[in-house]
Amino acid sequence: MGLFLRILVVCLSAMLAACSAPQTPPPSLFVLLPDDNGTVGSITVRNPQGSQTLDEAWQGTTVATAEAAPEVPTLLAADEVKARFHDALAAQAEPVRRFILYFEKGSKELTNESQALIPEVIATIHERRSVDTSVVGHTDTVGSNEANMRLSKERAAIIVTMLADAGIDPRVLETSSHGERNLLVPTDDEVSEPRNRRVEITVR
């Protein structure tokens, strides 16, 4: 009887201790995911106690506190990661949509193919309710830097006018011009290259 009571007391006090023990919070978690196109980059999680690099999809590392080093990475189940991070992943914005419009040699005239793309550009800005769309003018390397700076600016301005005429609020359009300093296809100076005579539009 004495023994039974003693066991009961030990059990009860153990249960009480378990209840009142301060619960350690779950650790913070970092997980690497595949990109939209399936490629995988890498991240490094670092604090003064140590660092860990994740370079495989669905690899994760936990960090208990700033005073503890990041744990050795482990492979997690994709479904569990998607469930735990559902809210943040569901709120992700769509990837940006980029258009490249090409121009005739040394001119502000769009090629026929590019002119035909304008309605799609307009529709995309409307559909996405974009308030932040970039219009960036470029040239090839024929002519002086200054002349090309001017031409790239005029190319961007022409596109902005077309979009504004179609009812797009010019305040959502951010215009800039790079002249011949940002070639799509790298070439020497004074090379006529149709793919460099362009305006790039990024709809965000």
Binding site: F30, V31, L33, R46, R84, F85, D87, P95, T202
Partner: protein, 146 residues
């Protein structure tokens, strides 16, 4: 001439004056539940289409969610009870100014890198109370408990 000299002096000694002309750094695309932008001591209710400026901070309520696209095409989203500050944003590739530093004080975030990571990966950093994340062109999630 005198006026021009004063103008030059102002331009040389107050680079922030030049910068201040457009400090837009992105926009909010998706909002659900309670989401706020903290800007210069004010708290604004966020909605799809709200522009973001340098120095903004985003906070979500318990069931809040928000998705953002920065001007360099970086995409960032937050789940509930999250607190994220934009500590640095510089996207001027022509002038070699590139930096993206975000600070997640608590909550849940998903990050998809953009142009700044591509052009200057060492200039992209996500700070948290338990450590700092360096990014090499990628997609990742993090949950900061605290």
């Amino acid at each position: 001439m005198k006026r021009f000299c004063i103008f030059l002096l102002v331009m040389v000694f107050c680079p922030s004056f030049v910068q201040a002309q457009d400090e837009r750094i992105g926009s909010i695309k998706n909002v659900e539940g309670q989401v706020f932008v903290l800007r210069g001591g004010e708290t604004l209710a966020a909605e799809a289409g709200t522009l973001l400026y340098r120095g903004d901070q985003l906070k979500t309520g318990e069931s809040g969610r928000v998705g953002v696209i920065f001007r360099d095409d970086t995409r960032l989203s937050l789940g509930g009870n999250s607190d994220l500050a934009v500590e640095q944003f510089e996207f001027a590739p022509g002038e070699g100014r590139l930096a993206l530093v975000l600070r997640l004080a608590r909550g849940m975030a998903a990050f998809v890198s953009g142009q700044i990571s591509k052009l200057a990966p060492e200039s992209v950093r996500l700070e948290t109370p338990v450590g700092t994340v360096g990014v090499r062109g990628t997609h990742f999630v993090m949950n900061i408990v605290g």
